[in-house]
């Protein structure tokens, strides 16, 4: 009788979920390109100390706001520092700001959203009201207040940005959970005697994350730019250490005299954002067993 049952199935592919996801990811050229971009910048950030580049804080009075040249491949900034070097060193702060803040927002926001959507009742009421209040506050104001409260440093700025970006994840997650929790497999999980924690972890969480992934990859951009605003207010990366955002902030004042000062950090942010979004798309597809 098994002859019939095996009739209509695809040839067996036996591999672990992780390897399977990686194989699918590898086959996705766009995602791979995105990964290369991120890895490239990450390597730059890590290798900054050993790369043969100028000191990012070394000034040169004789080379102020110089356009790209053989000596300074990307030109120099308003006090004669080498832009290439600053761009590379700046990737440390900017990548960290982008990744860590989003990680904070996701790691805190998603569980809260899960709890809120799953348990409902007064917990949900409370969380929803507070989230709404948070959302209603202008993002930058919240970030400024938090950063000011926590004290000025890059890591506090990341926490502040992460916390300010968090409510949207709570809301997104909650909405998804409301849809997923009525699925049969959730009831199935309860019927085999699983506790709420296990159900949330293994049944609900994996099924709510696609839009969260989209939002997270978008928030990377917001976070990198927000870091700039905070450092401008003296609450993020402190001068003379570079970050892409603060480089842009300075470049703003020399838009007509030294346009290159804005172009490089802008392009770097653009590439990283593209990278994260491509990887996000690829990851979403790769982790979804239903996608071929």
């Amino acid at each position: 009788m098994t002859t019939l049952a095996n009739a209509a199935i695809a040839p067996a592919r036996e591999e672990t979920p992780g390897r399977r996801a990686w194989r699918k990811f590898k086959a996705n050229k766009a995602a791979l390109a995105g990964l290369c971009i991120i890895v490239f910048f990450a390597l730059l950030a890590l290798a900054a100390p050993i790369l043969p580049i100028a000191d990012p804080t070394a000034t040169s009075w004789s080379a102020i706001r110089q356009p790209p040249s053989a000596a300074h491949w990307l030109g120099t900034d308003e006090i004669g520092r080498d832009l290439l070097s600053r761009l590379i060193w700046g990737s440390q702060a900017s990548l960290a700001a982008g990744i860590v803040s989003v990680a904070i927002a996701v790691v805190i926001g998603v569980p809260i959203g899960l709890v809120s959507g799953y348990f409902g009742g007064w917990i949900d009421m409370l969380i929803s009201r507070v989230t709404e209040a948070f959302l209603a506050m202008p993002f930058l104001i919240t970030a400024i207040a938090l950063a000011a409260f926590l004290g000025p440093s890059l890591s506090n700025a990341m926490i502040a940005i992460g916390l300010s970006a968090m409510p949207i994840f709570v809301r997104l997650t909650r909405g998804q959970v409301l849809a997923v929790k009525t699925e049969d497999y959730v009831e199935g999980a309860r019927s085999i005697g699983l506790g709420n924690l296990m159900i949330l972890k293994r049944y609900i969480a994996p099924n709510v994350f696609p839009p969260i992934l989209v939002q997270a990859t978008l928030t990377v951009a917001t976070a990198i730019i927000a870091e700039a605003s905070l450092s401008f207010l003296g609450l993020g990366q402190q001068p003379p250490d570079p970050s892409w955002g603060s480089m842009l902030n300075v470049a703003k004042n020399f838009m007509s005299q030294a346009p290159w000062m804005a172009i490089w950090p802008g392009a770097a942010i653009f590439l990283v954002v593209i990278g994260f979004n491509l990887v996000g798309d690829g990851l979403g597809d790769a982790l979804d067993p239903r996608e071929p």
């Binding site: 019939l4 049952a5 209509a8 036996e14 199935g188 999980a189």
Partner: protein
Amino acid sequence: MPEQPRPHPAAEPVLSVRDLAVSFRTADAWRPVVNNVSFDIGPRETVAIVGESGSGKSVTSLAIMRLLAKGSARIEGEVLLNGRNLLALSEERMRDVRGNDIAMIFQEPMTSLNPTFTIGRQIAETLLRHRRMSATQAKAESIELLEKVRIPNARGRIKDYPHQFSGGMRQRVMIAMALASKPQLLIADEPTTALDVTIQGQILDLIKTLQEEEDMSVLFITHDMGVVAEIAERTLVMYRGDVVESGPTEDIFHRGRQPYTRALIEAVPRLGSMSGHDWPLRFPIVDIETGQVSAPTEVAGTLDAAGTPILSVRNLVTRFDIRSGFFQRKTEAVHAVENVSFDLAQGETLALVGESGCGKSTTGRSIMRLVEPCGGEVQLDGYDVLKLGPGDLRRMRRSVQMIFQDPFASLNPRMSVGQAISEPFLAHRLGTRSQARERTADLLERVGLSAEMMRRYPHEFSGGQRQRISIARALALEPKVIVADESVSALDVSIKAQVCNLLLDLQESLGISFLFISHDMAVVERVSHRVAVMYLGEIVEIGPRAAVFGNPQHAYTKKLIAAVPVPDPARRGIKRNLAVDELKNPIRPRGYQPPKRRYREVAPGHFVQEG
């Protein structure tokens, strides 16, 4: 394939399919899915395509309509509509054919209608597109069409949205939509599979009537031989992408040559075939290669009726509050389960039957406390179920497990089946991971799958296999009772037979008791020891299987039995004339006191509700 004589040699065929082949693009190659399919459909003729799930029936119909995605599917051969090759038409011209010359109804009435448009608009769309009517004309015509498919109060309902209709009514809306442009050919792709028997009966009646009224040809796709016998003049049997046999339905039924055809026919449960058998009977299994039919064996001696029942339900009541108004006061309640009592002995199968929405699932879920009942008493394997705290409740669930109606929906799509099956084992800390793996492998083998399938995901299995996976998961905890909620209703015949046999095997070897929830009377007759009939939340009749089927007392029981399709082509054209009524909802105002019910004992153990 031998050339078949045409039933209407005089008439030119409306549709003529020649050497149709379809392949899908896979990572590295084109995978053929349908090969060399050829057939004709004459005017006013009904042709059925049968075959198990995945045999290529839907793909064939979609290929005819050219609805397969261009990049990923390749269609070869010829599809001639009145002599015109559809495969050669431009996309623009093809759109004039779709919904106009050929219309289509799909399998899933719940999802095939756009949830955000009124049904009036969805019907009118076809009229506006193909019959160039004005909006007012289209509206009038839509109402007429809805009346034609017997939707009560059609004028009032065209402004309603799909979710406001029951499944059966939605399918009727789909049919109305398909009829809108008076097509020459209607393709119905499993239009009744998802519906319960009484509604299925109504829909089949409707298609037959309309076909006469409208002069259309019908291509009817199904895996249910009972339905085929009722509706089709000619039948094609498909197996793994090939047409293995075709001919007049009578021939197929009585003189089918292919073992596969025989297997399909043998697998059809026939109502009344159980007279003379005392115990549940396995379905016969046909070896597809040789055509040999194994004699079905009875499942004897599992029943321990004398001992204390493993499950005892007394006066169970479950209601769902409906809140409304500004302060969300509870104003009404769905009396989903009302005063239900029964016992289930060790090794016994009690079937719970009734139409959609009558409270069968809620009964099962209440027993497991997946919903909180409002009252009553449930004794299960020594647990007083309704009084358990969270920890005990979880322990209790080792004794009772549930197999869900929809195996696909009840498996987490992002969890491999290995994980899914070992989950309960690990959650209850019954052993280490490697033990869990062993056990999973063992369970998979036991339900007729292989241990290598552990790493696959639910969507990579066929419906029947998924249902086996659900069963394997339910077995992981070695429960004493299994609530099987419509666990075979959505499966095609051959697989339905396998799964039923599997359940019976398990009962025999492990002594499991089943609460078998189903609306399929024929299956119920085959597998159960006793039967309880539910209607609007209450049990209206309960008794030994032979008594209930042999001597049905309650009017509703009789209606259910009448709705079962009869797999006998000779009865084609006979309509049941079932009343086209809407499903009743057991919604009552708050404070409603259900009347006291009394039961009459017709025969020993056979009770029927009075009044």
